[in-house]
């Protein structure tokens, strides 16, 4: 392929497909017009005309008339911060899971090390993909307002960040740790008991069912990341940030209920042993009941959180100049 064709291809492949044929004709006409200065243009003269057109990427961006980003300047710094926290938390979580269980593994040190390294890479990549996906959606669904605005809409000023960054980072790390724990730690979450045969253990989860329901865990993680990003965007509670928090907190709760109330998730041997153990308790604490208590606790915590955030938002709206957390 000659340089002329390569130049044109480089420009038009960056443009929307509907514009390509027309722009190709325009660039060809432009090059032909510039070559009119020469009677029988040589290769060197054609090359010099192509060079005079400037970098094909620059011409493509002039045809596009806009900059192209996956994540634009508005969210870029926040994206980098969340990405770093998520990846660090995953590295930490995976490391804890591996080192805690390292002793139990019968495999050689090198196979343990290669499995550990692969899990670090795999976990970080998965976390990064989710963060990129969430910010890409955010970038495309929220546009900074540039039209008329009301002075009351300007963000509050504050001496101390009302929702502390540490709190937000902590909740983000918690989301990551839950994901890591379920993905990497589940095989080692076991019930240890002593019998005539000595110490024995049985897994808590039925790993096949857990794997089939991993999408729920990933959605819970995504909700956690979105809630953390929401708190980073709005450092104090207002109707909009509370609304977003309630919606994604509610979704997270619903996914948690779907996940934990699926009794096929728990290993049959575990349920059997637990039933035997709990028959010695002076009160009825069946596994079903325990799960229900746990879900009621999660729901209660969510409702309390909603109430607290709504109250803070109300207080902030009453006292515009002194935002509360």
């Amino acid at each position: 392929m000659n340089y002329r064709e390569r130049y044109i291809q480089t420009v038009i492949k960056q443009l929307p497909s509907k514009d390509r044929a027309e722009v190709r004709l325009e660039i060809e006409a432009m090059i032909d017009d510039l070559l009119d200065a020469y009677e029988n243009p040589t290769d060197a003269q054609i090359n010099s005309v192509l060079l005079s057109l400037g970098h094909p990427n620059k011409m493509a961006s002039q045809y596009l008339g806009r900059e192209r980003y996956l994540i634009g300047p508005l969210y870029y710094d926040m994206f980098l911060m969340v990405l770093k926290i998520v990846i660090l938390a995953i590295l930490l979580g995976v490391s804890i899971a591996y080192f805690l269980n390292g002793i139990q593994l019968e495999a050689s040190f090198f196979s343990w090390l290669s499995s550990y390294t692969a899990s670090l890479l795999n976990g970080s990549l998965q976390g990064a993909i989710w963060v990129i996906l969430i910010f890409t959606i955010l970038e495309r669904t929220t546009k900074p307002k540039t039209e008329a605005f009301k002075l009351e809409d300007l963000p509050e000023t504050y001496q101390r960040r009302p929702i502390s960054k540490g709190e937000t980072i902590f909740s983000l790390v918690c989301s990551v740790v839950v994901l890591v724990a379920v993905v990497y730690f589940a095989p080692y979450l076991r019930l240890y008991f002593h019998s005539d045969a000595g110490w024995q253990s049985i897994p808590l989860f039925n790993l096949d069912v857990l794997e089939a329901n991993l999408w729920l865990v990933i959605l819970i993680f995504a909700c956690g990341v979105i809630r953390a990003i929401n708190q980073l965007i709005y450092p104090y509670w207002n109707p909009k940030s509370v609304g977003i928090d309630i919606v994604f907190g509610g979704l997270s709760l619903a996914f948690n209920i779907l996940f934990f109330s699926n009794f096929a998730l728990y290993h049959a041997d575990f349920l059997q042993i637990y039933t035997q153990i709990q028959s010695n308790f002076p009160f009825d604490l069946s596994w079903e009941r325990l799960v229900i208590y746990f879900l009621v606790f999660l729901t209660g915590a969510y409702l309390l959180e909603c109430g607290n955030h709504l109250y803070q938002a109300y207080k902030n709206s009453q006292n515009n100049r002194k935002p509360q957390s």
Binding site: L25, A29, M30, L34, D36, S52, Y63, G65
Partner: protein, 106 residues
């Protein structure tokens, strides 16, 4: 310092190219002929800047175009649309006002 001056000159000229193009296109012309006309008026514009600009102005409805395939090679001719003429009047008015203000300050 030259880089700063070059950057500011680019900013200063941006927008005036659109005005000059709209002004010249009361008669139909193809891209390279426009480059030559602008250069004759002392306005140095790269073809690689002008052709995308013509396309953008056409998308905004300020220019109309048609391909002439009769000649030895196909050429895209542009002419100012009715909307383009109305916009030009506004831009010329604004330009005069800016010129007066800047002249007063300099």
């Amino acid at each position: 310092m030259n880089e700063i001056v070059d950057g500011l000159i680019v900013e200063l000229r941006r927008g005036t190219v659109s005005l000059a193009v709209l002004r010249l296109l009361d008669e139909k012309a193809y891209g390279y002929a426009l480059v030559a006309s602008l250069q004759a008026g002392g306005f140095i514009v790269d073809p690689s800047t002008l052709y995308p600009l013509l396309r953008r102005l056409e998308k905004q409805g300020l220019l109309e175009s048609h391909w002439d395939t009769e000649g030895a090679k196909p050429r895209k001719y542009y002419i100012r649309s009715t909307l383009g003429s109305e916009v030009l009047v506004e831009l010329m008015h604004e330009w005069q006002s800016i010129r007066t203000c800047v002249d007063r300050l300099l």
